[in-house]
Symmetry: C2
Subunit: 245 residues, 2 copies
């Protein structure tokens, strides 16, 4: 049977989603927990990789298993008895054999978190990045509008990934400010390597007045990474959810 | 000169505020940072102790120092270059010699955080306690009203502290629910050992329907700890601020 999982994790102490030799990974934790339960070596397929240090509120994954002694909808309880405190399965269910967590994904939402302060705040630092000056929100919002739509995001990705195309569609970029907390929500049909962290780094520079919002259009045109903002730290990035057809 | 500090810390990895031999404490970190800066062994006096694992958004403390090469209002910058990431000074200022962080405190506010979920959520667990059932908020609110006022809180404190009197005044107990997050804010003129965690443990049991709200009146009358709820975990407790005359 094929089991679909919704997984939440604090990525701080992990080398990201994907299994790598001698590294502590989310996929590795799930596969070893399933092995402890069933004795089966399965491959857990995620909706996408998250990088080292990135968190997830609702990552989606699935696996095939022969053992049917545990009903699919009870798998989350069984897995949680084995998984460490920073990785938990919040839902499990039986899913059709042709379900594929990457191919069937309709959209994904990430959120990037900042806080405004002149001093690093210990209670914010785990999941957010400090900004020292008030940002120009209307400029950032105007830049966010430019990012929305289907574009070649080659200038918004780090080298090191091999993909067939760097064209992606971004459905929305929302900027939300509540008191001293600023969050950027990015929803799209798919994301390139470091893409959200580069989008947010570029929006940050625009908000600080260090880049003009039209740099976005330039980057779509000349496809050059150098013009954009830096790749922001992983710790403030969270995969919020993945929606399916 | 006398320097007043406002300090923020993530108490997860600390044995609480107060210096103890061979333990990592907040007071110890501050005193050793001041020693590194000035070569002076000073005593940092806090507005009160926080227990092992308890956090603070704005703890207040002060110390006397002979070195005047660092202006009082710049101390926070100098200290932050030495302090670890989980303890930071957010403000520093020159204060009158007769200022005493305990005696001059008018009120203190603590907040205790819960989240409602059937599964432990890795991104909430660091600073909140999971509750599995929806709570009866109106019963909790009615119980909160009974706690407000001047009472003998002997039944709401753990043994192990020696105090002259167990009478304290609680100015307000506020319960706030936003989506699946529930917070209890407790403001008072002073708190006994574990008092907020026992008040919140008792309110929790009332919200779960396992205790009647009148248990509060009974505890004020017979002064017996046994009737109340349990002492809740430290990790979800945060000293929010201390107000002065």
């Amino acid at each position: 049977m094929k089991v679909k999982l919704v997984i939440s994790y604090d990525g701080t102490d992990y080398s990201g989603w994907q299994v790598q030799p001698n590294k502590n990974t989310i996929q590795g934790q799930l596969e070893s927990a399933i092995f402890s339960l069933t004795g089966e070596k399965v491959r857990v397929t995620g909706s996408g990789r998250t990088d080292a240090g990135v968190h997830a509120e609702r990552q989606v994954a699935c696996f095939n298993v022969k053992t049917e002694s545990i009903p699919a909808e009870k798998y989350y309880l069984a897995l949680n008895t084995i998984l460490p405190p920073d990785v938990k399965v919040i839902e499990s269910s039986l899913i059709e054999e042709d379900f594929h967590p990457v191919k069937c994904a309709k959209k994904k939402t990430y959120v990037y978190s900042f806080y405004l302060s002149n001093v690093e705040l210990p209670l914010k630092e785990r999941y957010a990045v400090k900004i020292s000056q008030d940002l120009n929100l209307s400029e950032m919002q105007a830049a966010a509008r430019l990012i929305e739509g289907e574009h070649d995001f080659k200038a918004f990705c780090s080298s090191g990934s091999s993909v067939l195309t760097t064209v992606r569609e971004i459905y929305s970029v929302k900027i939300e400010k509540v008191e001293n907390d600023l969050k950027i929500y990015v929803t799209g049909n798919g994301f390139l390597y470091n893409m959200v962290r580069i989008i947010c780094g570029t929006l940050l520079k625009i908000g600080e007045g260090k880049l003009d919002k039209n740099v976005i259009l330039e980057m779509f045109k000349n496809l050059k990474r150098e013009r954009g903002g830096r790749t922001l730290p992983a710790k403030a990035l969270k995969l919020l959810n993945v929606e399916y057809r």
